[in-house]
Amino acid sequence: MKNIVVRFCGDSGDGIQLTGNLFSSLSAILGHEISTLPDFPAEIRAPQGTLGGVSGFQVELGSEVYTPGDKADVIVAMNAAALKVCTLGSHFNHPQAHFDEQFALYHRHAIVIVDTDSLSDKDLEKAQYHTPNPFEELGIPESVQIVPVALTTLTKEALKDSGMDNKSMLKSRNMFALGLICWLFDQPMDEAIHLLEDKFKKKPALVAPNTKVMVDGYNYGQNLALSIHQIRLDGKPNEAHGTYTSIAGNKATAWGLIAAAEKAGMHLFLGSYPITPATDIMHELAGRKDQNVMVVQAEDEIAGVCTAIGAAFAGDLACTSTSGPGLSLKSEAVGLAVMAELPLVIIDVQRGGPSTGLPTKTEQTDLLQALYGRNGECPAVVLAASTSANCFDYAYEACRLALENMTPVILLTDTYLANGTALWRIPKMAELPAIRPQSVPEELKGHFNPALRDERGVRYWAFPGMEGYEHRNIGLERDAEKGTISTNPENHEKMVRARQAKIAQVANRIPDLQVQGNAESDTLLVGWGSTEGHLHAAANQLGCALAQFNYILPLPRNTREVLSAYKRIIVCELNTGQFAAYLRAQFPDIPMTQYNEIQGQPFAVERIVNHVKSIAD
């Protein structure tokens, strides 16, 4: 097989995310490409064994992996509730719902490994079953291969000589499942043991029992060999030579900022306030004092961005991280940074909205907010990362563009990228592009003002501590020559246009748009940000072309040229058509249709393919 999709699911206290992450890392180390999708409930701990508490982790591994996969080939269900949620998908709450391939989280020919110790009458009742036979009640077709494993009993058996109490023993059930899955994919135990040791290096007492349970799980696989076959993945990874690790989008974003600060020779400052799903960026940076990173956990979202603006005013590489509701709160301050023409990086890890919306789900619904969600004519650069790994590149790029062009840059990622992991080729500092922060010419000493611009229209940057460049910066409109407060009508129009021209010239400093897939096709899929993997896979299946945008404002210079070469353009987004509306406003003469989903979930490749086929017929 070329690639395969595995989904672990169980109670949110079952260690599902840990198991999934360990398995994914192991697969990556063994040379597979990976793409992961953690899918957890918003509640920290829902009551044990209930449908609301089911946590999932899906990974696709193999070669030519672009997404975490539409549906699983292998399911590990740690309890009755997880079995139900995987089987019924979003219909798990419907009474009398049966397996339906449209909604199920696994295929008709999947392998479903289920803990038979967690199917007692009490367990079934908690998961709202009505009969004592869950498989029959759920209508699981015979083509699905159910593998019953007494996970709880076997885990206790493995630890019977450990002296551990019952509760502690049960915490290792996930390791038995991990060992079993490792056997299923023929993954060697020594590498897995090494990973476990690393994972528990701060709690060494946990290494031995967890290793024992995992190895027993692996060996148990041999007993199963009569009923299921091991799965061997062939095909070599598609990636270029280099040193790789697996990385989640939020961590990659944080590291992109760290790398940019070092390249620019500046201090990195993050002002932020906790918000799902962006908080891991702050967590990562708060732990990176070794890299000279300063983090202020502010009193609110507004203070997050305002402390960053203060740090930018004082000459730092300043950033703030948030999600949609936080970006709304920061709007006025982002306008201040536009007006004061200060470099500032704003990271919006988008989630389902509006308002509190779907905090743990993914959506691309903040695009128009990022572009236009401020008072006045208030342009800022807008970028979007498109894979968990390239969150690093676009965070780095956001810093470069902010520092070189004296502007706020909004970087859009989302829950899917932030929590998902992918293979990341680790770059060396020397190979990263140069960053040349805007400075101020020596001859302006003694007569500097904050309206003075270079030949690109970018204002010069002087900050406190620099003798002879004292000046007053403002959020009020300023005189285009003197830099002081001005309410003159012509001056205001001149300044509005100057700020727009400054953003427009950024197009000269970004790469052209590249067409992926079959460029010769007459059909072009258009996407932006995190949908790249799904759209790429769909374009491959359809034999059509794909234009995936990472640069939103300004657009790449060749955008018109690319779009006008195709007879049929379908703009695909996880919203009601925000990018399509934006493109239509720029290119009113180019006809476009759109495909949209707003379910808080990533696209499924199959649904995109079906849509495109249906309109072609």
Binding site: W255, I258, A259, K289, G310, A318, P464, N473, I485
Partner: protein
């Protein structure tokens, strides 16, 4: 240094007769007296009449957005503790829209010098009541009188754990300069409440103490280590009395030679007495109908001045400590610590 070195080339646009003119001059004098070069000073403000102040000072300045000066100033000082950072704010800017940033800069003890101009009115938006307007105050937005209780700023500041609190009056230039200099010398978040007159919308709000005739009787200038004596003939003193039933302490006025007269200790860590001093004479600002039953003077000068570790210092110290012990100090060293493999 000379006060003129801190004057910018901008025409000062406060209304003729506004108390902000006096504070502006006092700031220029105080900054000259302190002697920190203009390029090492950053003055941050929000929005409001007083927030225009950075334009008139020849230092680095940033006139930001309404209420957020404190957060911006926190960013400047924390990222660059070597700078001297001032914040200019009013009773609306820092007690209403910016209230959250205000209490948190105090709680964190960020080393800022904050001038809070209190004229008990919104001037720039032309005459609405503020969080320090007395209950019942009639303004454009309260034509039948406000129904809200006001803040007493000193109480809020001490409640938030303030390490420095001074109060001054626009017409008392020497005390204002002294308070501003002391604020700069204090390491930590220093709040100076500047009582200023709004000649257009709230004229005479501080007349009770601002009138030259009455000032000596109605106010006391507190000086650390000196006895609390006031009155135009220096014949009155302040003492504390504890109610024998409730144990509630209160300030009382006694004769200047009474042995109970207190000596001011601004450095006392316990804020109980500082709070009593800060509350003196504030009763008449709580409600327009307040019946003022005591003759306590309004305390001016430095009321509280204690040392505690500053936020900016602590943040930078922690980074230095971690960095000192760290094995991976740059990006390449950091990535080398990752679990990785080569393709």
């Amino acid at each position: 240094m000379e006060a003129s070195q801190f004057k910018s080339d901008q025409y000062v646009r406060f209304c003729p007769g506004c108390g902000d003119h006096a504070i502006c001059m006092a700031l220029q004098k105080a900054m000259a007296q302190i002697g920190i070069p203009t390029h090492q000073v950053a003055v941050i403000s929000g929005i409001g009449c007083s927030s225009r102040m950075p334009h008139y000072l020849n230092t680095y300045g940033f006139n930001t957005i309404h209420g957020r000066g404190g957060a911006v100033a926190t960013g400047v000082k924390t990222s660059h503790p070597e700078l001297t950072v001032w914040q200019m704010s009013g009773d609306g800017d820092c007690l209403a829209i910016g209230g959250n940033h205000f209490i948190h800069e105090i709680r964190r003890n960020v080393d800022l010098n904050v001038c809070m101009f209190n004229n008990r009115i919104y001037g720039l938006t032309k005459g609405q009541y503020s969080p320090t307007s007395p209950k019942g105050f009639v303004s454009k937005s309260s034509p039948f009188g406000t129904v809200e209780r006001p803040f007493v700023p000193g109480q809020l500041i001490l409640g938030a754990g303030g390490t420095f609190f001074a109060r001054t009056l626009d017409v008392d230039m020497p005390t204002t300069v002294d308070c501003l200099v002391a604020a700069q010398q204090h390491k930590g978040c220093s709040i100076v409440e500047c009582l200023v007159n709004c000649v257009i919308f709230n004229n005479g709000t501080h007349a009770w103490i601002a009138d030259r005739e009455q000032r000596a009787e109605h106010s006391i200038i507190l000086r650390h280590g000196e006895k609390m004596i006031f009155g135009k003939d220096n014949d009155k003193g302040l003492a504390v009395e504890i109610d024998p039933q409730t144990f509630v302490p209160k300030m009382i006025v006694v004769a200047a030679d009474d042995p109970r007269v207190l000596t001011h200790d601004a450095t006392q860590p316990d804020p109980t007495l500082h709070r009593l001093l800060a509350l003196m004479g504030q009763q008449r600002f709580v409600s327009v109908d307040a019946e003022v039953t005591d003759e306590l003077p309004v305390a001016l000068g430095v009321i509280r001045n204690v040392e505690a570790e500053t936020y900016d210092e602590a943040v930078n110290r922690q980074i230095a400590e971690v960095r000192d012990k760290a094995k991976a100090k740059n990006f390449d060293e950091l990535t080398a610590t990752l679990e990785s493999w080569t393709i």
